[in-house]
């Protein structure tokens, strides 16, 4: 027995375990190996932890954009002009599709037959897509396609049907040029808009108010962070931010007046076998556009619901240019409707007075060239009001020659000619005000004394009756006649009455913006306005239309038959009529344009009379919200 403290050893021969060298070596190897693994683990989980955790998140957490509803466009009284109608699209998550090539192509073939998208196109789109993202394929599905695909969805892994909104225009043809349409964003637009959060497959306003008020209508997209598993199935949603719908835009347009204007213009064009025309009705007190019609129009719903190649080609190759908004982008010579500018310049520059009598011969000669009046006989002496009323060209040749081209151009610009005063849509054209400086700058010949570059007296006198190189647009004309109506104030035209955000809070109310005051004394302008009143009270033709329609001829008007396409005697013409009413305190001003119109008195003026018939009968209703 061996003494060991308080214990005695009873038995057992081996006092120590046999830790051989080789077992110790094993132990050392084990310690080294496990330590090495621990160090590597620490490096992965601590040093690289954050970046690898981010990768793990990127694997499974995907941000999906929730499209904001686009703002609705209403007329000035709150009548909706457009709606967001539901549509269905096929979406696919490539990663969730079958793994084998055979099963995959079988699925693509089935989806192709159900959706009508060619199988090759489908396969290519899927091959190029983000494997975990949702890819929208093909056009919107028809209701039948939607139903038949929905039934088969359980047997089509990776496929789903997504509901989204399609812009539907309620008055697609009549309001086509005002509202425009939305379409898929193109590469050029995306470059400019990407930093504002636009997605590559987003819809964006292309023309009209849809484009001009894009920033208001679009709203702010929301998003959701969703967790998907390795098969692409959504497991849960982490966080979401709700989208903010776009603002509601209340246009200054009065829908019923717009329809009446369109009806009057359509009827007028049909009666005279004309193909194209435009009309702009404005409130001369505020600059608000009450109606804007350009014919022919086109069906904007074709663009938002997926236009066929044939329809698109028909629209782009139509000789009547239905895609051209003549109201803002059609530039034409104003013809005799310009004579109020010449009269104002002559009066205000002291070249004539309201009482000055000038002759009205059948022609006058300037610089060896003969310039005719519309009548081939002498109409005798007359004052400026009468000259406006009977539209004597030779009278205004004399006034223009006395005023001079540079001064006349100054007055034209003061009335808003030649300036693209912006309206809430792209593509507004400025028109053109010519003078000797313009001619020298644009003649394109180095020798400024050549015929091409030298401004002649002939240029001045034809400028005085709205010809020469002078160009304007129906919108421009409406702004101009409104200025004559309201006492010489050129107002900023606008299509927006007010804008409300999605909750109905008013965020913008139209405020009248004065662009310019025409430098004219009240008495001089009164003489001009008197001429316009006399014009519509001429016993034959013009006054006949008012009487026939039962509309009081209380206001001022001016016809114009403008030659175009060069110079000479038998050139094609456009017919114009500008009008305001009532005479004492005008609350409406308008321009009527008939492309290739030959007789403005019988082609353009009756259209204005028809519009006025509606306007007079509904003045209170139109004013209601204004």
């Amino acid at each position: 027995m061996i003494e060991r403290g308080r214990w005695v050893t009873l038995a057992g021969a081996v006092p120590r375990p046999r830790w051989s060298f080789r077992l110790v070596a094993f132990a050392c190897i084990a310690v080294v190996a496990l330590s090495a693994l621990s160090v590597k683990l620490a490096q992965l989980q601590v040093t690289e932890g954050a970046s690898l955790a981010a990768l793990a998140r990127a694997n499974s957490v995907h941000r999906v954009v929730i499209e904001a509803d686009r703002g609705i466009i209403y007329d000035r009284h709150g009548v909706p002009l457009v709606q967001n109608s539901p549509a269905w699209n096929l979406e696919v998550v490539p990663e969730a599709m079958p793994l084998t090539a055979a099963a995959r192509s079988a699925e693509i073939a089935e989806v192709s037959s159900l959706s009508g998208v060619p199988a090759g196109e489908l396969a290519a789109a899927i091959a190029n897509a983000d494997p975990y993202g949702s890819l929208r394929i093909g056009h919107s599905l028809t209701e039948d396609q939607e139903l038949s695909i929905s039934e088969r969805i359980p047997a089509l892994p990776g496929m789903s049907i997504a509901r989204h909104a399609v812009r539907t225009y309620l008055y697609p043809t009549i309001l086509s040029h005002v509202l425009g349409y939305v379409g898929p964003i193109d590469q050029g637009e995306l470059k400019g808009l990407e930093r504002r959060g636009y997605q590559p497959d987003e819809l964006v306003g292309k023309v009209g108010v849809e484009a001009g008020l894009e920033a208001r209508l679009r709203g702010t997209n929301g998003w959701a962070d969703i967790v998907v598993d390795a098969r692409g199935q959504v497991v849960r949603t982490l966080t979401t931010r709700a989208p903010v719908p776009g603002d509601s835009v209340y246009l200054s347009i009065d829908l019923k007046l717009e329809l009446a204007t369109a009806t009057a213009l359509t009827a007028g064009l049909q009666r005279d076998h004309k193909k194209a025309g435009a009309s702009v009705v404005v409130d001369p007190r505020s600059g608000e556009v009450l109606a804007m019609v350009s014919l022919p129009g086109y069906d904007t719903n074709l663009f938002t619901h997926g236009i066929s190649q044939a329809d698109y080609e028909r629209l782009t190759t139509d000789p009547n240019l239905p895609l051209l908004n003549r109201a803002i982008a059609g530039q034409y010579a104003p013809g005799s409707t310009f004579k109020m500018v010449t009269a104002t310049a002559g009066l205000q520059e002291g070249k004539i007075t309201p009482q000055t009598m000038l002759s009205c011969p059948s022609y006058l000669s300037y610089g060896g060239w003969v310039y005719h009046n519309w009548a081939n006989y002498n109409l005798g002496n007359m004052n400026v009001a009468r000259a406006l009323a009977i539209s004597c060209d030779t009278f205004f040749y004399q006034v223009a020659a006395a005023v001079g081209d540079v001064t006349l151009a100054r007055y034209a610009r003061a009335f808003g000619f030649g300036q693209a005063e912006g309206i809430e849509m792209p593509g507004v054209q400025p028109g053109l005000v010519p003078d000797r400086i313009w001619k020298e700058l644009t003649c394109g010949v180095p020798d400024l004394n050549s015929d091409a570059c030298r401004w002649t007296l002939g240029d001045t006198v034809t400028f005085g009756i709205g010809q020469s190189a002078l160009l304007t647009t129906p919108l421009n004309q409406a702004v101009y006649v409104a200025a004559v109506a309201n006492g010489g104030t050129v107002l900023q035209p606008t299509l927006v009455h007010e804008i409300r955000d999605w909750s109905g809070r008013l965020v913008l109310v139209h405020k009248t913006v004065v662009v310019d005051h025409v430098p004219v004394s009240p008495s001089n302008l009164a003489a001009v306005r008197e001429g316009m009143r006399e014009e519509i009270n001429r016993p034959y033709n013009l006054n006949y239309w008012f009487r026939a329609a039962g509309v009081p001829a209380d206001g001022g008007g001016k016809t114009g038959t403008a030659q175009w396409g060069g110079s000479g005697l038998d050139l094609p013409t456009h017919a114009w009529f500008v009008f305001f009413a009532p005479f004492a305190a005008p609350d409406v001003a308008m321009s009527i344009f008939v492309e290739r119109g030959e007789l403005s008195e019988v082609e353009a003026a009756p259209i204005a009379v028809e519009i006025m018939r509606y306007f007079n009968g509904n003045r209170a209703a139109i004013e209601a919200a204004a």
Binding site: T9, V14, L23, F26, L41
Partner: protein
């Protein structure tokens, strides 16, 4: 002295560590949406095997060694003849409706056979060295041709480790090293297509991020996403959502690490370390050479699997289909591991014990409560 009860001779730490690992394993398998109930059943069977092996006197295995070797070869041949094929590899025998993976069982059988062969003498003659290699070669070849690279690697490691423990001379080990230097450059030509691909991907994982390198990358991402304290049980994005492949078997460590973080991973390695040290201790206290070699062999068998499995999960070793003992889902591997630990326990229980008794007592009256045992 002979009446000291078995439970007082038991190494308690070893089964405790194994039990902890099994619990963590079931938790991880549950989080991987795998059949955790079945794994519990395998563990129960394994626990029975453990108890059986621990009570069974390992020394009675000695005369059975040739029969065990024959049985091992028989099973491996049977796999080649009637085995089930899955994922391009013929590995499973159906025994009474349950899939049995003989290559897993053969790891332990190799340990026992080699221990029986190497037990004599403290050093190894060249003839016996060659015989030992010859003994291991046929089963290794049968496993490699299944093909099962992972188990073959474990086989090679067991052979190497047991030769070392069995007294192999430095020259003999050096000759093995030279042999390895000859074989490894030839490896790409000997390996099957998918095995070669795995090796290439290990060397350059980003070469194919969505294809075969995907596994490696996703496992690394999962481990890294664990951070210090892990995402929490059942909250690992990578594991829960299925981005980690083979998440209940080969890559179970990755999803464990994602859920339990560096803290949990180090704890897991610490438990494995404890288990391994207990196995070495079992070898040290073994009453004879056979027991020492069995315990040492079981140590090598587990050590290699832990290091290779964790190593491939964190991207420091090439991918080979080796399970993480007691954690990975799998019946054959779990039962084999528990049986091997039971065998080591059998060695511990039969160690020579130094018996101390409190001085105050009378030697004639044996009082177990006044007895202390030391190694």
């Amino acid at each position: 002295m002979t009446s000291i009860p078995v439970w007082r001779r038991l190494d308690v730490i070893q089964p405790t560590a194994a039990g902890l690992l099994a619990v963590l394993g079931v938790m991880t398998i549950y989080s991987a949406n795998a059949d955790w109930a079945r794994q519990v059943a395998w563990i129960t069977v394994g626990a029975a095997a453990y108890a059986l092996a621990a009570t069974f006197d390992y020394r009675r295995l000695l005369p059975l060694a040739p029969a065990l070797y024959g049985g091992m070869v028989f099973l491996l041949v049977a796999v080649h003849l009637v085995g089930r094929t899955a994922l391009g590899s013929r590995r499973w025998l159906s025994v009474g409706g349950f899939p049995l993976e003989p290559s897993e069982l053969s790891k332990l059988l190799l340990v026992v056979t080699l221990a029986a062969f190497l037990r004599r003498g403290l050093s190894l003659s060249w003839r016996r060295f060659a015989l030992a290699l010859g003994l291991a070669a046929p089963p290794a070849a049968l496993i490699l041709t299944q093909p099962d690279l992972g188990t073959t690697i474990v086989f090679a490691a067991i052979l190497l480790g047991m030769l070392f423990l069995g007294g192999a001379r430095p020259a003999q080990l050096a000759s093995l090293a030279i042999g390895a230097l000859v074989v490894i450059p030839a490896l790409p030509y000997l390996l099957h297509g998918y095995q070669r691909r795995r090796l290439e991907i290990f060397l350059n994982p980003s070469s194919d991020p969505l294809g075969a390198g995907y596994n490696l990358l996703q496992a690394r991402i999962a481990v890294g996403a664990g951070g210090y304290f892990g995402q929490g049980w059942l909250h690992g994005l990578q594991g829960q959502l299925g981005f980690v492949p083979e998440r209940a078997t080969d890559f179970v460590f990755a999803i464990f690490a994602e859920q339990f973080g560096l803290l949990g991973s180090l704890l897991l390695l610490a438990i494995f370390g404890t288990l391994l040290v207990r196995l070495l201790k079992a070898a040290a206290v073994a009453p004879d050479r056979f027991g020492e070699l069995i315990a040492g062999g079981v140590f090598v068998m587990l050590f290699v699997q832990v290091v290779e499995n964790v190593g491939m999960n964190i991207g420091v070793l090439p991918i080979a289909g080796i399970p993480l003992p007691l954690i990975s889902y799998g019946g054959s591997a779990t039962i084999t591991t528990l049986a091997a630990l039971g065998l080591a326990q059998s060695v511990v229980v039969r160690r020579r014990v130094v018996v101390h008794q409190r001085q105050a007592g009378y030697p004639e009256v044996f009082d177990p409560s006044a007895v202390r045992l030391t190694f």
